[in-house]
């Protein structure tokens, strides 16, 4: 069951944890990422900035109470972290960890930091990476590579940013996705990113799939749309679910 990030937090079961990683491309989607950060921050058990993600966090909170949205950790090779941002967060007790590991990018270092700190509670943790879409395409694809590598370690692992929300559907179970209109949808898609899928079946979409093979170069489900309150999907190979996310209304909806 994939409950929407935008549903009322009080409807979430006890014992569920939220971890947030802040990445580089925060500024490109208007207020969407800022709004999520402000609403999720206090309920998150762990909040980590991946190197330059700290600059982004600092900058989008211009004119707001930055001290109410302090990360727990800033981690990475730190070649992007601005000195003024580092000083600001250091003075407020934020742990800044330099990790010069060439085999893992800063985002992955943060995922591993969260796994390390969460321990056995990782399986009950929803990990949200904000600022994952847009910007450099190789970095955007690296984020999806990490979805493939780490989705099974968490209850959910979600990429958010630039008006998009994406996560990986693993084979072997029926996925029930409960989006939260009007913030989410209606436009959505199922993308065989990384490998073809031989059989994908969905219910609840405008163009449902019935044991449909999906593959780049053959057939992908893009520009699809929500048609029901719940979408169910089964797949025989890892499959990306993506849905458009709009900015919150002026009513200040949560």
């Amino acid at each position: 069951m994939h409950r929407s990030l935008f549903a009322d937090p009080s409807s979430h079961p006890e014992g569920r944890k939220l971890a947030v990683i802040v990445l580089n491309n925060l500024g490109s989607d208007g207020n969407g990422s800022k709004h999520f950060i402000k609403h999720a921050w206090s309920t998150a058990s762990l909040r980590v900035c991946a190197d330059g993600g700290a600059n982004g966090l600092y900058d989008i909170l211009e004119g707001e109470d930055r001290d109410a949205y302090l990360p727990d950790v800033i981690k990475g090779d730190l070649d992007s972290l601005r000195p003024d941002v580092a000083r600001y967060y250091e003075d407020r007790g934020v742990n800044i960890i330099q990790a010069a590991d060439q085999d893992h990018n800063d985002f992955e270092k943060c995922v591993r930091e969260i796994l390390h700190r969460a321990g056995s509670t990782a399986a009950a943790t929803t990990l949200v990476a904000v600022g994952a879409h847009g910007g450099r395409f190789d970095q955007e694809m690296a984020a999806f590579h990490l979805l493939h590598k780490y989705t099974a370690h968490f209850e959910h692992f979600v990429l958010l940013g630039n008006g998009n929300l994406s996560f990986l559907l693993l084979p072997g179970r029926t996925h029930r996705i409960c989006p939260h209109p009007p913030r989410e949808g209606p436009t959505c898609g199922l993308l065989p990113l990384g490998q073809p899928a031989a059989r994908v079946t969905s219910r609840g979409l405008r163009w449902d799939l019935r044991a449909q093979p999906l593959a780049f170069g053959a057939f992908v489900s893009s520009s699809n749309a929500l048609e029901a309150r719940e979408v169910s999907v089964t797949t025989d190979a890892p499959l990306v679910w993506t849905i458009e996310v709009s900015e919150p209304g002026d009513e200040g909806e949560a």
Binding site: G135, R136, G189, L191, P192, G194, F216, S222, S223, T242
Partner: protein
């Protein structure tokens, strides 16, 4: 020549024989420099055309010598808006193609009055980008195999549309000489397995960041030269290993692959400048330590 012999040894390492070569020169190189006057370029303008330096430079360098200039429905709005009053008369498309459910009336009027054909194509199985590709194929005929197709505004915006653009790369790359996606600081194209690829970036605007991405399928063996972290018969797969945040480290990059793989590199003066600034700061720090 050193480049040719290293490419030959790359090919031998993978196949034990000679491979056809495909040279991917920068798409901002003027036709006179590329030395291939017989190779037409078709330009398709998509939704997310911004005012980034790379897109502007591409328009200025390639628009007027292109054989065909199409806007995919809402791409016409993006072109109209990003150029503004001063410049939009300088970059007029030949056609606007699609279901036309996004095209704004004032944009349609402007381009129609400028001589563009506004062509409504209602096909639920193909998106507007694909309809433009079909138009390029129809217009080019037998010359499609010599044509370079550049799609501007392919990155950013809705992720499912961005991935739909890559789906079309996988589907149509074989039909043209080259098929390139451009926009938002990125340039990407698909490398097919039956040839040796020589990629020749323009260092003023392209790189240094780059990557090799097995977007549609895993690769069993990818070999490169000219990168900071070269690959040697390396398997690539999402969840296994992908090459991202790599860097171009030579005037030419060579790639041989056993399965289709996406090449991407950063595009635009800002990335080039930022990378140079970081390198300079690191060099300075290094000197300080010594």
């Amino acid at each position: 020549m050193a480049a040719a012999s290293s490419a030959a040894s790359l090919a031998a390492a993978v196949t034990g024989g000679a491979l056809d070569e495909l040279v991917h020169r920068s798409i901002i190189a003027p036709p006179s420099e590329s030395g291939h006057p017989g190779q037409p370029t078709a330009i398709i303008v998509l939704n997310n055309v911004g005012e980034d330096s790379g897109s502007s430079l591409f328009l200025r360098s390639a628009w007027h010598s292109a054989s065909l200039r199409l806007c995919a429905d809402g791409g016409a709005n993006s072109l109209y808006d990003s150029l503004g009053e001063q410049n939009r008369s300088l970059f007029l498309p030949d056609m606007v193609v699609g279901d036309l459910d996004s095209l704004r009336p004032e944009v349609a009027d402007y381009y129609r009055d400028s001589g563009a054909a506004i062509v409504k194509v209602s096909d639920q199985d193909r998106n507007d980008f694909e309809k433009c590709l079909q138009q390029v194929l129809a217009s080019a005929g037998a010359a499609a195999r010599d044509t370079t197709v550049v799609a501007l505004g392919a990155f950013g915006g809705r992720f499912d549309q961005e991935m739909a653009a890559f789906h079309l790369l996988y589907q149509y790359t074989h039909a043209f000489r080259r098929f390139v996606l451009l926009g938002g600081g990125n340039v990407s194209f698909l490398l097919l397995p039956d040839r040796r690829h020589r990629i020749v970036p323009d260092p003023r605007m392209e790189g240094p960041f780059c990557g090799l991405l097995p977007i549609g399928n895993p690769c069993g063996s990818v070999t490169t030269s000219g990168l900071m972290w070269d690959l040697h018969q390396q398997p690539l797969a999402f969840g296994g290993r992908v090459s991202s945040s790599n860097r171009i480290a030579a005037a030419e990059v060579e790639v041989v692959t056993d399965a289709p793989v996406v090449w991407t590199m950063s595009f635009g003066a800002a990335t080039v400048a930022a990378a140079a600034a970081t390198a300079a700061a690191a060099a300075e720090a290094g000197e300080g330590d010594a």
